[in-house]
């Protein structure tokens, strides 16, 4: 038991390190939890006291993020990534195996407080699963043999730093490189270009490039930059959305791990163009393993004159970048929820308009772009808009990074010019007998064979990059059920259609999956999905029914073969319920039965 005074001192030190800034609340709570393994009420109150904010503000943040615990948790907290791709690789068996070996229930904490075992949403290691997190650090390629060693390490209380490095190895499987990943890039080249040619010329190149938001929404990046540049206000911000939470996507992980300079350079160019001096990277909590390396890269850039004050010796060019770590909330990938989270709050999407380009971080004009968008922007600053636009299609210029996983021989990253067909991708990654693809993640579209000729681009099949392959041996409904649970877990709870709808949908899919569904349930799913789609406050709720609605159309047999009856089947039998009344009144005449069938059934 920690002494209250020691607790207070510890928290005072952490809060001091973050300059007593309430915007650092989420970062502060992460650090407090690292030292205590969970967040007792006394700790939350101490944080509130030190920051000078209301205790309920602290508690609402602590109860919102999946990786923050307000109940005791083991000093080793192991969370298995539970995306469908992890399931395909056998994660459930491993989960039960290790829970048995530890003698702990799933989602429980062992009596000695040493270890907890549970599950979490996709950790972005789909090409090297089954994956997990231990105290937030990524574990890859889990096997029973590896878990046996982990059990020993935990039981002997071995610090993570002494665990074998290969357990934490994250490999960048780049199988196809093009404009962004392929060509050599000299650090500082884009900054020199913006200094030499001026911000307006670079914005013009951005406009010519036709670059659209690579997170999947596809908004023209140049329009966003322009709108922010022209927004009134002295203080502006550049925010990099590295909250790559869409299950099945991991291309931003590869960019941040291997191409961080390119991303930071794109952010710096953006800062120069819009007139911002501060950039923020919102890195998903699952990628905390790379924070130290990213901080080192930022420091190298400062020392090389590529970041900080007077960039490249130009006294009017100041720009620095700070990294914020998320804590397990898919909704923070939505740009206004991400900004709320950056401000140290719980991540509920804002009412829009106003948009971040005029009212963003701390209500200042802010550009929020995806990691890949900034990487592309850095290339465009050097190579020019025409060069970028020479690849791709009429409405979708340039290239797109796809994250391939599931049933294929070569999972990993593939960079294609926009317009590539689904067929081509399947052939390149070695997908044998594909049955369906979950395109753009659960929030995207589930497509069957008849759509494999379609092209990946904004005018046909738009995607943020997730591409999960299901072969003929798979039960599509396993995937749909996994996604329905994912959305119910990740709904922020703000608006009714998403908060309640995602749980209702999860229960309906469970009902059908376990063989208790009827045709009426399928009709109910469609109706519910429509309410969620048109009625929800943000993209999460609006896209949450997609896997169900798509698969009802594209894979009806996956549902129908599980139905109890192909006709409506009520759970309540009226004739049986009337039996006691007939017995009491002694009636056996035809009028005492609901219909002829029931009468015939009752005859001896």
């Amino acid at each position: 038991m920690t002494e209250p005074s020691a607790l207070t001192q510890n928290i005072r030190d952490i809060v001091q390190r973050h300059h007593k800034m309430p915007t650092r609340l989420l970062q502060i709570l992460r650090e407090v939890q690292d030292s205590l393994t969970w967040l007792p009420t006394a700790a939350l109150n101490a944080v509130a006291e030190e920051l000078g904010i209301a205790p309920d503000k602290v508690r609402s943040v602590a109860t919102f993020y999946s990786f923050l615990y307000t109940e005791p948790r083991g000093s080793y907290d192991i969370l298995f990534s539970d995306n469908i791709t992890d399931r395909m690789l056998g994660n459930r068996e491993l989960l039960h195996y290790v829970a048995d070996r530890f003698g702990v229930s799933i989602n429980g904490t062992r009596a000695d407080g040493r270890v907890s075992v549970g599950t979490t949403s996709c950790t972005g290691m789909c090409d090297q699963g089954p994956a997990a997190l231990v105290n937030g650090y990524a574990l890859t390629r889990l096997t029973k043999a590896r878990l046996d060693r982990i059990v020993d390490l935990v039981n002997t209380n071995t610090p993570l730093e002494q665990w074998p490095r290969e357990f934490f190895e994250v490999v960048s499987h780049i199988h196809r490189a093009d404009s962004v990943l392929g060509r050599h890039f000299a650090d500082g080249a884009a900054l020199r270009a913006v200094l030499k040619r001026g911000p307006s010329a670079i914005l013009e190149e951005m406009s010519r490039s036709g670059l659209r938001g690579q997170g999947g929404a596809g908004f023209k990046s140049a329009s966003k930059w322009l709108s922010c540049r022209d927004a009134p206000g002295e203080v502006k911000y550049v925010v990099c959305n590295a909250d790559e939470g869409e299950p099945g996507t991991f291309k931003d992980r590869v960019l941040m791990q291997d191409y961080a300079d390119l991303v930071f350079e794109g952010m710096t160019v953006c800062g120069r163009v819009i007139g911002a001096r501060q950039g923020l990277v919102y890195l998903r909590g699952e990628y905390r393993y790379m924070v130290d390396a990213l901080q080192a890269t930022l420091q190298n850039r400062r020392e090389a004159g590529l970041l900080g004050e007077a960039i490249l010796g130009n006294p009017s060019f100041d720009f620095d970048i700070d990294i914020h770590l998320g804590a397990g909330a898919y909704v923070c990938g939505e740009e206004s929820a991400l900004i709320e989270s950056l401000e140290g709050k719980h991540g509920v999407p804002r009412i829009r308009p106003p948009f971040p380009t005029t009212h963003g971080y701390l209500n200042k004009p802010t550009v929020v772009n995806n990691v890949e968008t900034f990487a592309s922007a850095a290339k465009i600053a050097v190579q020019g808009g025409d060069w970028f636009a020479s690849r791709g299609t009429a409405e979708s210029k340039g290239t797109k990074l796809l994250s391939l996983s599931g049933d294929c021989e070569r999972p990993g990253i593939y960079e294609y010019p926009f317009g590539v067909t689904v067929c081509q991708v399947l052939e390149d990654c070695g997908a044998k007998n594909p049955q369906g693809i979950q395109m753009a993640g659960p929030a995207g579209h589930m497509i069957s064979e008849k759509w494999f000729d379609r092209r990946i681009c904004f005018e046909d099949l738009a995607t943020g990059g997730s591409f999960m392959v299901f072969d003929q041996s798979r039960d599509i409904l396993d995937g749909i059920r996994n996604f329905a649970h994912f959305f119910a877990h990740e709904s922020c709870g703000f608006c009714t259609p998403c908060r309640v709808g995602t749980s209702l949908m999860r229960d309906l899919v469970d009902k059908v999956h376990t063989g208790h569904g009827t045709r009426a349930d399928l009709a109910e799913m469609r109706k519910l999905g429509q309410i969620m789609r048109v009625g929800s406050h943000c993209g999460l709720g609006q896209t949450a029914p997609n896997p169900v609605l798509d698969s009802l159309d594209q894979f009806p047999e996956a549902y129908e073969r599980r139905l109890r009856s192909t006709a409506f089947e009520p759970a309540f039998d009226m004739n049986a319920a009337l039996e006691q009344a007939r017995w009491l009144t002694g009636r056996t005449d035809p009028d005492a039965y609901l219909d002829e069938q029931a009468l015939l059934g009752a005859m001896p």
Partner: protein
């Protein structure tokens, strides 16, 4: 003289001021759009989604959407009624709403809006959450079973009363209303029945302890006339059956 900007709502011409939302303009024109988390005395919240309307083919929350000249807005169509009905059906299964046993029945905005959109019975499978009642306060009873997370009490207590008595915590379906004290009990706060927060609940979550059934069933606010005629319970004087804690 410049002409007044207008939009049409179900075919009727509605004038509006620059910056006004569709809801505010409709309200000023005497046109009812059903709503729960919206209260004209507070900035819009946009969470209940009951006030959805269709603008140029797209569904938006009328309480948060700025009016623009020439917009064609639909509200009372069967398509929209069905979606609103679905949302009400969700709210009724998310909590535990037992109208016949609720003192607020007949003067409950949730119940009245449900009738208005044509919801006469529950539809989805009930969640039956466990939400203990808080009777710790000498004058007020908190029945969390009836909370629909509109956050009106949260906003009123924080922004009007300056007491910050309520908050919402948790995520997703686990989001729930709490009282901001170490014990989580209302009795430990300086909450009073004269607070604004005591008068804004659209359901029977916050009730007065020492009075009940003063107006008999059958003669209550929404017993004879629907909500689009009567108006919101929080906006009405005691003599009309509203604001019964004043």
């Amino acid at each position: 003289m410049s002409e007044q900007a207008t939009f049409t709502l179900d075919g009727r011409t509605v004038p509006f001021q620059e910056g006004q939302t569709l809801m505010a303009a409709a309200l000023a024109a005497g046109i009812y759009i059903p709503h729960l988390c919206f209260n004209p005395e507070f900035p819009p919240h946009g969470s209940c989604r009951v006030c959805l309307v269709k603008v140029n083919g797209r569904m938006v929350a009328s309480c948060t959407t700025p009016a623009m000249a020439g917009q064609v807005v639909q509200s009372e169509t069967e398509e929209i009624r069905e979606i609103r009905r679905g949302i009400l059906q969700m709210l009724f299964v998310e909590g535990n709403h037992v109208c016949p046993a609720c003192e607020k029945s007949g003067a409950c905005q949730l119940q009245a809006v449900a009738y208005y959109v044509g919801m006469l019975a529950p539809h989805y499978t009930h969640f039956y959450p466990r939400r203990p009642v808080d009777a710790s306060h000498p004058d007020a009873l908190l029945d969390f079973n009836r909370c629909i997370l509109c956050e009106l009490c949260v906003r009123a207590s924080r922004d009007v009363d300056g007491k910050n008595v309520f908050a919402v915590q948790g995520r997703g379906i686990k989001a729930h209303l709490v009282v901001n004290t170490p014990s989580g009990k209302l009795g430990a706060t300086d909450f009073s029945l004269t607070d604004k927060a005591a008068q804004v609940c659209p359901t029977g979550t916050i009730l007065s302890k020492h009075s009940g059934y003063e107006i008999p069933i059958g003669q209550r606010l929404y017993d004879r006339k629907p909500i689009n005629v009567v108006g919101d319970v929080a906006a009405l004087a005691v003599s009309k059956g509203g604001r019964r804690h004043d």
